[in-house]
């Protein structure tokens, strides 16, 4: 199997103010066909008031990682290894009761599709009030006032009457706003947004992103923003983590990763992104092939079957050795720094202009 030249354990940047720190996280689902390593040795940190963007294709382990942070994975079929420390508290070993106290209170999640993520059976107001009553011991009246306050804050018109509406009476954008209001009811320190704008049209998407940024400034929450949309992430994130097949392949500040990406997978992502100002005659470059099955992931670098530059690496390193992800600004690739720079300048950059 893969030879680990270096574990990622100590390699991620550990700031003293790091609010959430994930170390060497491994999430394995047991399925009928065998174990699926959905997340395999992932480490990252998020600071208060900052946004970490996690980018990757479907099935790269983005959502699984964040459900695991909340402890919402199914305990029957999932094994979790590693360390998730939030504000000094270890979450993987925490009891269900302790997690319940934290969920919706210190850490909250905004889900992707607000139509299915809100219950059709209860009013928006009731669904908003519940966590506030539970975590703050508030009365119904107090919770209602708070819910109306939050609905106003996220820009829902006539919040007093909307409080008694059901989710299906809201438009898509309104529902997502209500979802955000719900996540913010208890001023969470950590907000996980799992593709919060994917189901929305572009104008609404921009409003929601602005809203999230404003709210972050107001509340100082740490945000993990999951998306596969690089345009969205470049607006939102301070730091970026690019994931592929359950592993982090590149990390750095959003500006660095977007302007000088270092991993062939990130190159592929950027080249396949349509741009408004690009030449119409120029075709988009999709990444060849499909993401690997996590039941039988490729050895070595998991991206090597789809990578165009494996020939440049001496020996068969790409297919035998897992490339380590270094400290700070880093990419998990066997190419040398010079090779990466030359390739990027010669082959990739012209396409992005």
């Amino acid at each position: 199997m893969t030879t680990l030249t270096k574990t990622e354990d100590a390699s991620a940047p550990t700031g003293p103010e790091s609010f959430l720190s994930v170390r060497d996280l491994k999430v394995t689902f047991s399925t009928e066909d065998g174990p699926v390593k959905a997340v395999d040795g992932l480490s990252f940190d998020v600071q208060r008031g900052k946004t970490l963007g996690i980018v990757g294709e479907s099935g790269s382990g983005k959502s699984v990682t964040n459900l695991t942070i909340l402890g919402l994975h199914s305990p029957r079929t999932t094994t979790v290894d590693g360390e998730i420390v939030m504000d000094g508290k270890e979450l993987i070993t925490a009891s269900e009761k302790e997690l319940e106290q934290l969920r919706g209170n210190k850490m909250a999640m905004i889900f992707q599709d607000p139509l299915t993520a809100l219950s059709p059976f209860y009013t928006v107001g009731r669904q908003l009030s519940e966590p506030f009553m539970k975590h703050r011991g508030a009365s119904k009246k107090e919770a209602k006032d708070r819910a109306i306050e939050m609905l106003t804050k996220v820009g829902i018109p006539q919040p007093k009457t909307r409080f008694d509406d059901y989710p299906h009476q809201f438009s898509g954008g309104m529902r997502q706003r209500a979802m955000i209001a719900m996540a913010l009811m208890c001023d969470p320190d950590l907000l996980i947004a799992d593709e919060p704008t994917t189901a929305l049209d572009v104008t609404v998407q921009a409003q929601i992103l602005d809203l999230l940024k404003d709210l972050q400034q107001e509340f100082g929450s740490a945000i993990i923003f999951i998306t596969h949309d690089l345009g969205v992430i470049s607006q939102m994130a301070d730091d970026l983590l690019v994931m592929y097949a359950g592993r982090a392949v590149e990390r750095g500040s959003a500006r660095e990763v977007m302007s000088t990406p270092k991993h062939p997978y990130t190159w592929g992502l950027l080249s396949s992104m349509p741009r408004l100002d690009s030449n119409l005659d120029e075709a988009l470059e999709p990444i060849p092939g499909a993401p690997p099955s996590l039941l039988t992931p490729p050895d070595g670098c998991r991206f090597h079957p789809r990578c165009a530059y494996t020939d440049l690496v001496p020996g068969n390193q790409c297919s035998t050795t897992r490339p380590p992800l270094g400290d700070g600004r880093a990419s998990a690739c066997h190419l040398t720094a010079e090779q990466k720079q030359t390739l990027f300048i010669d082959k990739i950059q012209p396409r992005l202009r």
């Binding site: 969920r103 909250a108 889900f111 299915t116 219950s119 669904q127 539970k134």
Partner: protein, 325 residues
Amino acid sequence: MLQFIIRRTLGAVVTLFLIGAATFFLFVAAPSDYASLACGKDCSPQRLADIREALGLNLPVAQQFWDFMTGIFMGRDFPTGHCSAPCLGQSFYSGEMVWSTIMDRFPLTLTLTVGGSIVFLVVGIGAGMLAAFRRGSFVDKFATGASMVLSSFQIYFLGPIVLVILVYSTGLMEDPKYVPLTQDPVGWFVGMSIPVCVMATIFTAQYTRMARSSMIEQLAEEHVRTARAKGMSKKYVFFRYAWRGSLIPIVTVFGIDFSAMLGGAVVTELTFSLQGIGRLAVNGATTKDLPLTMGVMLVGAFFILIVNILTDIAYAFIDPRVRLS
């Protein structure tokens, strides 16, 4: 909501009329001479004509149908006496008024239906939800296994076994019989307990499986996960969020089962030698007793329509999306 109920009620009346018409004309179209069937072996032409006259069979078919239908609302006069509304006619054979025959049998059918429903809803849904809540545990395996076995049983198989054990070999209980509730509540309860329980057992098994699978399906819903992500406890989410959605398929099937049972639980009645609506329907059809069959059909259809409307109202209570559209 009110508008909805009114609309559905009008629809139900039309449907009932159509069912009545269909039954009537199918019966008339069948190649049987009811008068000669009623007349017996040594039938003189004179007697045959008398019977025809008495049964109203020499009137035009449309006239017969009209008489029957108006009789339901206004009552009818027969040579043997007056039949007050709702009049479903007079049996060709016994000469009894069909309405009063049905009303005689109805308490038994109602007891079976309501009694059985209470037992299988409480036990079945309870066991199914418990199994879903403790999925994979011993309780779950036991409930799933037992319901598998029981739902493959039949009333006419389980019934005699229970009778042999409790009645014939040990004499712990008496043969099932119907005593009116108003006359002797204890006798009513004891007399009907075996049929009710045997019938409920078969249904319990089905409802256990249905409640379990529908609950498990709901627990995988995203909005249930959202509720967990808000920090609501497992129990709270289970009983407030998942439970409500899981009721929808159960209500649907229960509506069908309940109205079918009100129309007569033939197998149960035959197994325990009880005289309910189901047996009446079978008798009516096999003896070609037109008024009796018409009566039972209409009463059965009436219940099916009523229960359908009630089911739709129940949906609206469970799911607000239905309420407003």
